[in-house]
Every structure is written in structure tokens, then in C-alpha cells.
Symmetry: C2
Subunit: 483 residues, 2 copies
């Protein structure tokens, strides 16, 4: 096998999505499989994607009153058990530490699957008066959920990176506003940074976060037609506050119970990002997310090498003040090899410079992923590159928007739901009575489920009768296959 | 107990250092004790210190070729065992996951105590040719070491936050340069950011990192006279590369074994920071580390309130572009209360504005920790504040430097070592034969140990004969009590 072949993607996104995805992950050097099933090693190019995502979301959180904190990686069993829904929801998925050194522990410690049960007691401890509220804490950390499924990097792993925010408020209004603020920030991350349009909605009652009053979600449609739950924001009502005693004295000196929220977004967002934009040449990501935004590839013959390299180095210095730039001046590789390598690794903009460009004081710009190419003046290059990066973002976004717009359909009967899901990618909207039992026949036949209902509780369903059972419709259900 | 009393520190740094430290940690809202012994909850004001430290160190790492990555939180037992020195070094301190969900695991998983044994095999996998080297990866994460000691936030906890860097190089020179580069960055962090002078040295052979060829350290002297190991950088030789098979083909097509390093700095740096500068009024930190750098306290009567507040708000807007500023405009607290609270919480510079300041277009600046106060023109305030923050840094640094300079002494015999350690704070230098047995009598009598020897292996010892046994001296040993 030549190095060239080894470098390139051999699977097809369209015909073998799973294999293609796994190949992109490994060959673009984003992640490797760890020795234990269900775990991955996030390599520098993959982790840089996470850092770029963090830098956006973390600054929006901080601008809106959130402070970061760090709570222990372990949660005592007795703490997990205080909120019964949490225990029932997570118990089968918990990794347990039972030994410290050579000794059995008196009480097993859960490796956190989520941290409500260790954070909420501290929100309680820090709260006496209404003046102490709201509390807004967030942590960037990893969590572990012991699910026995095939490993799919960033989509399905036993350990994953995420942020989890936890807040306490005086009343429902405050907590509900918080829930919506965070959902909107997740939407903004997908739409404005990841170039992925999302649908905002609620999870159906039977699929809420354990203990939550309402679970809201942003759902992203992948090119293969499956929906990804892109981030969830939960209004928890008073259930956690009651279980862990988060009370406060209000302005009238009355004791009240706080209302809490939690919200989380994981590296699954990276999975959605990679899956959405990449192609059979490798990784594609929008410029704001790219570890390297601009690669400069000099093209020389022996007699032009010095001039071309000097020109390329000047460009690197000029562009480097503003972008993450790499000059690929390796002697041992030809330009074609370099083009392929940086396409594989997802650099959005390639700057090619050869003797002609040097002579004419120009550069040639080439867009990932569509190869659109333009030769432009060197003068004003920083602004020109700005425009081209914006154009690349717009192309990626438009393509993803088209995929979503074309793939939301309606159906009015079970047969029509199944027929539409069988024939097409994406979502099928149908009137629904609200009963989990009416999801079962669709799940059994198509492995599709209700991924969301509209955010607005007062929205009229799109039909009067449940498409499955014929009873009065309460909601509009969005059926889809999902990751 | 009045709120005022509750707010203030009641213990004395000089006479009850341990109790005073614990009180500062809790009352300045840096951390709380978790329900499980040995674990803490890092509150937002404490975590902000960690974020400020990270922002410096992480950017220096990246400027010098390091990329961040993320490796699994668990390490299979069989991986830990491949480097026998590691397992012997950490086995008694490992927390073991033995159950996933309801099932016993076939192989216990260690919660990482440090990650050489999971990272080095991947460095091996990523390395074929000399062109692949060097590899430099770092991760910011938590590690767990199951030590049964009293909990002391940031100094002694079973779980702690740190960064761990792992690198592979072609040869000893490359790996040794790397070891020194990271040690110098740790030194720079302490000296230029934390305002704490350090001594650079090597750990004696019997106190090296398990499996290391050389362990280098920066040691910081606390005001109570104990030394803190502030960060360590290890030249690992080829021991890990041999155990995990990190080999490469060199320019002559010969297979070679790589040389590796690892280096780590933990939140103990925050413990050293808090311990060094804080006082009986509470937290003191240098401006670059302070979560809030400037607090504006308006002082008004009913008839001057509007004018004073407006003036204060303008100042907040102006200073907020450049510093982390808080305007404390609470109605329900008087200025004295606010002064105390922000002193407790470690804000370096207080800006006081009352009717006089408004009339004269001035502000009054007050330094934490020494209360030095100056009324200055409002015009040019941003630059003036810059100068004052620099002055605050310089004062803190000078005081810490004085503590170190005054407390390095020499001794030539066991009696002199013990007498000096008994009478004085700090380090005692003595000629040493290099044998661990000669440390024992000092350890037994004074709970002091050899915290370092000079970095330069060729440095002449300060005397010809070991101060303990009288044999030929090989090194100069620095004895001290330590955290």
C-alpha cells in the first residue's frame, strides 16, 4: 500500500456512512480507539475542535452570569439515591469504584454519570436568602455511562466530554428563562459556529431527563437522514430542590423552595459537525472550528524555490496575525500530496503560490470542500481571506439548511408515517395523542422514535386525531431515526 | 454571631497556620469539603484562580509546540503493570472501578493516577519515522490518588486538577531540552504570575518519579517555613519507551528507541498562592490571578447618591474594558462592610468614590494587602490603575523574595542541620553522600527531608564530607519540612 493510498479515504459517505465516518475520524487524526471497548483517545486535531467549541460557548455562558466550578468525579451511592428518578434513570449505567488502594470502600462511589446529585446539595448549602439567588455554575468535565453499544467516536462512547450547567432560581419564571437562554445558546453554537441548522423542541414526556419537569432539545439532521440530539436544557421544577433541600427565605421572610435547571452539551456536537460537512476526501469543518484555517502550499522548481519560499513566508507572517496558519514547506512531499493531506485534515482555505503568483503579486485561493479557486491580489489579502472564509461558511451552512428544509414531511396515519420514513430521510411530523404506546409500532417497525414535539405547549397539533390510535391529538410528534 | 463576625477570618496566619488556611479557603468561597473525605468542591472563585493560571501556562505550552489532547479517565490494570516501576509506585494509591452497571468487570480499571501508561502506547502507535518526532501532548484533567491523609484543599486531596504533558523525542538531548523548557515555564508561572520566587533543582534519586531517569522540581518556600513542590518535570530516559515500544526509524534506516518526558503542575500551585500572600483579613492574590481585579465602592449620603453612583458607573465602564471590575452598588450594605468583604475575597485594588471625589474629579485607590491609599486624578485612570496593579504585584513579590532569601542556611553536621531546622524556617543546605540512609535521622527527628539537590550535576558540593555520615560528599542536599 502506498503512502498516498493509506492517506486517503476509501469508503463512501453516501453508501457506507458508518465506515466512512470511522475512517475520517482516524485518518484525519481526530481520535483513536482506546484499549477498553467504549473509550476513545482524543488526538490533538480532535481536541482542538473541542477547544474551539468551548471558547465560543464558555464566553457566552460567562457573558450571561455563569461561573465555572469543579465538583468531584465521584458521587457517593447514598447521594445518587436521594432523587429516585435519577437513581432509576442512571443506575444501570453507572461505573462503580469499590476499591481504594488495597481496601474495599465502605460505600461504593459512582463515577459521575451527571452531577445533579452532588451539585444540588451544595446549591442548597450556599442558599439562605433570596439575595443569594440565582446560582449559576457550570463545569467542563467528562462523565461515564456504562452502555453496552458499539463504539462510535464522539457519538457513542462510555466516557464523554461535556459541559453541565446547574442553576437555582427563586421561581418558575426565572428557571424557565434560564432553560430557554441555554437552549438558545446551543442553537447559536450550531447555527453560527458549526454551520448546522437545528430544530428546537421538547422531548416527549416519556423521554425526559430523569426527574425533569421539561426537557428541551436542539435536534440536528445528519446527511444520512438521522436526527442527532444536539444538546438538552432541562427545567427541573422543584423535584431536585425538594430532594436536596434547596430552600430560601423570600422578601417576606417566608421559606420557599427553589426551582432548578440543568443543561448539557457534549462532544456529540463534534460528531454532528464531522458527519455533516465532511466528504469522501476527508474532514470538512467551518473556519471558526478549524484547528488550521489556512494552509499555504508553495509550488517551486529548483530555480524558483528561494523566491517562492520567501514570498510564502511573508504571507505566513501577514496572515498569521489574524488566522491559524500553516506553511507547508516540506521538501520531501510534492504539492499534490500536500493538497490531499490538508484536504483530508479539513483545512478550509488553501493558499497556493508558485512563480507566477510571485511575479504577478497574487495568490491562488482554493476552497474546501468544493475546490472553488480564485487568483487574487496579494494586496489586501487579509480582508480577501476574511471574505473567502465567510463564503466557505455560507456554502456549508446553505447545504446543511437545504438538507433540513427538504426533509421535514407530514403524515396522518401509521401507514403514512412508516411509508414516509421508509422512503425518505429526515423527520415526519404527525398528530399524536401523547401516549408512549403510540410510539411503539413505529419504533418496532422502523427503529424511529419521537425525537421532539414543538417547544410551544399551546401550539395546535397539525391534525385533530392521533395518527396512530385515532384518539384526540395533543401534540405534533416529530418521528425520526436517531443517533 | 453577627454577619460581620461570620464574614471575617478569626484565626491567625502566624499562630495557627493550618486553621487560618482552612478558614480563608472557606470564607473567601474558594472551596468546600465534599461529603467523601479527601475530596473538595472547587467553588467559582476558586475555579477562576485555576482558569487564570491555565490561561497563562496553556498559551506558553502552545507557543512552544505543545498540543492538548484527552485520554481516557480509566487505565486497564494490565497497562499499568507494563511499567513495573509505575505499578509499584502507584499501586497502593489507585482507585479501582470493578463494576459497570450491575456487572463485575473482567479486568479492573484504574482511575488514572497519572497517564504515562495509557499515553505512551499511543505515542508508540503514532511514531514510525524520525519525521514523526517530537510528539508533545498535554491534557488538563483530574487524577485520583487514594492517600489516607487529612484533607487540605489544593494541597492534599484524593482527587486533584492538574496538567500532565507527555513527549517523545529522538534522543536524550531533545528530551532533556524539553524537560528544562517545561521546568522553566513552571518557574516563570510562579515568579511572573503567582509572585512567588522558587528554587529549581532535582529530586534526590530515592525520591524520583517512579521510572524516571531524572525528576526536576521547582520548590517554593511558604511563610510558615515549609517547602512546596511546585511542579515537576521528568526526563524519563528510555524506560517508558522500552516498556511501551516507542521506536522509530532514523535517517539511516536504523530502528531506535525514543526518549520520553513527562511534566505536571497541579492545583497545589493555588494552595501555594493562597498560603503565600493571604493574611488575617483573608485572601490576597496578585492582580493577574484575581477573579475580580478592581472593586469600585461608592460612598454616598441620600442627597449625594445619584451623583456618586453615576460617577461610579462611568468608572466601571471605563475600567471594565481593560480589567475584571465589579461595582458594588448594594443598598443594603454600608461601605465598611463592603471593604471587609472584598478584602476577604482578595480584590487587589479598591476604588473609593464619594462626593469629594466626584467634585474634584478624582478617585481614591487602596491597595490590598497593605492598605496603602492614594487619591489620584480621574483623568488617565486606566494607566494609573495599571501602575498601581504593577506596584501591588511588586510588593507581594518582594515580600515573598525576602522570605526566601532570609531562609536558606548552611550546616555541616547532623547536629547543626537539626539545630538550624529547629530554630529557623526554610532550607538548610548540607554536603551529602547521596545515600538515602543519611536522610533518615533528619526525617525521624524533625519530619524534614531532602526536598532537592542542585540542578547542575557537576556542581561542587558545599563541603567535602557528608554532614551525616562523614563519607565523601557527592551533592548539596536541601533539607526542609514540606507540604
Amino acid at each position: 500500500m502506498s503512502e498516498q493510498q493509506e492517506l486517503g479515504i476509501t469508503e463512501s459517505k453516501e453508501y457506507a456512512t458508518g465506515e466512512w465516518y470511522a475512517e475520517v475520524i482516524q485518518k484525519a487524526e481526530l481520535a483513536d480507539y482506546a484499549p477498553m471497548g467504549g473509550f476513545i483517545v482524543t488526538r490533538p486535531r480532535g481536541y482542538a475542535l473541542w477547544e474551539n467549541l468551548q471558547s465560543h460557548l464558555d464566553s457566552w455562558f460567562k457573558d450571561t452570569g455563569v461561573t465555572n466550578a469543579y465538583f468531584p468525579v465521584f458521587i457517593p451511592e447514598s447521594y445518587l439515591e436521594k432523587e429516585k428518578d435519577i437513581v432509576e434513570g442512571f443506575d444501570p449505567e453507572v461505573a462503580w469504584v469499590t476499591k481504594g488502594g488495597y481496601d474495599e470502600l465502605e460505600e461504593p462511589l459512582a463515577v459521575r454519570p451527571t452531577s445533579e446529585s452532588i451539585i444540588t446539595p451544595f446549591l442548597a448549602q450556599w442558599t439562605r436568602s433570596h439575595r443569594d439567588l440565582p446560582h449559576r455554575v457550570n463545569q467542563w468535565c467528562s462523565v461515564v455511562r456504562w452502555e453496552a453499544t458499539e463504539t462510535k467516536p464522539f457519538f457513542r462512547t462510555k466516557e464523554f466530554l461535556w459541559q453541565e450547567g446547574h442553576t437555582a432560581h427563586e421561581d418558575e419564571d426565572g428557571a424557565w428563562d434560564e432553560t430557554m437562554t441555554r437552549l438558545s445558546q446551543y442553537e447559536r453554537l450550531y447555527e453560527d459556529v458549526l454551520a448546522i441548522p437545528v430544530l428546537k423542541g421538547r422531548k416527549p414526556a416519556h423521554d425526559k431527563f430523569p426527574g425533569a419537569h421539561t426537557t428541551t432539545t436542539v435536534e440536528a439532521l445528519m446527511p444520512d437522514g438521522k436526527s442527532v440530539q444536539g444538546g438538552t436544557s432541562h427545567y427541573l421544577g422543584t423535584s431536585f430542590a425538594e430532594a436536596y433541600d434547596v430552600t430560601y427565605v423570600d422578601e417576606d421572610e417566608e421559606e420557599q423552595t427553589a426551582h432548578t435547571t440543568s443543561w448539557g452539551l457534549s462532544w456529540r456536537a463534534l460528531g454532528a459537525l464531522i458527519m455533516t460537512h465532511s466528504d469522501d476526501q476527508g474532514l470538512v469543518v467551518p473556519p471558526a472550528m478549524a484547528p488550521t484555517q489556512v494552509v499555504i502550499v508553495p509550488i517551486w522548481q529548483e530555480d524558483t524555490k528561494d523566491d517562492v519560499l520567501e514570498y510564502a513566508q511573508d504571507l505566513e507572517a501577514e496572515l498569521g496575525d489574524r488566522y491559524r496558519v500553516k506553511l507547508d514547506d516540506r521538501d520531501e512531499r510534492n504539492p499534490g500530496f500536500k493538497f490531499n493531506e490538508w484536504e483530508l485534515k479539513g483545512v478550509p482555505l488553501r493558499v497556493e503560490v508558485g512563480p507566477n503568483e510571485v511575479e504577478d503579486e497574487e495568490v491562488t485561493l482554493n476552497h474546501r470542500p468544493d475546490g472553488e479557486s480564485e487568483t487574487v491580489d496579494r494586496e489586501g489579502l487579509v480582508e480577501t481571506v476574511d471574505d473567502h472564509l465567510d463564503a466557505i461558511f455560507a456554502k456549508l451552512k446553505a447545504r446543511a439548511e437545504e438538507n433540513l428544509e427538504e426533509n421535514v414531511r407530514e403524515a396522518e396515519s401509521r401507514e403514512e408515517i412508516l411509508g414516509t420514513l421508509g422512503q425518505h430521510k429526515g423527520y415526519v411530523k404527525a398528530p399524536w395523542c401523547g401516549d408512549e404506546a403510540c410510539e411503539e409500532p413505529i419504533k418496532d417497525a422502523m427503529a424511529a422514535e419521537i425525537v421532539m414535539v414543538p417547544l410551544d405547549r399551546d401550539a395546535e397539533p397539525i391534525g385533530d386525531e392521533c395518527a396512530i390510535c385515532g384518539a384526540d391529538a395533543e401534540e405534533t410528534a416529530y418521528f425520526a431515526k436517531s443517533y
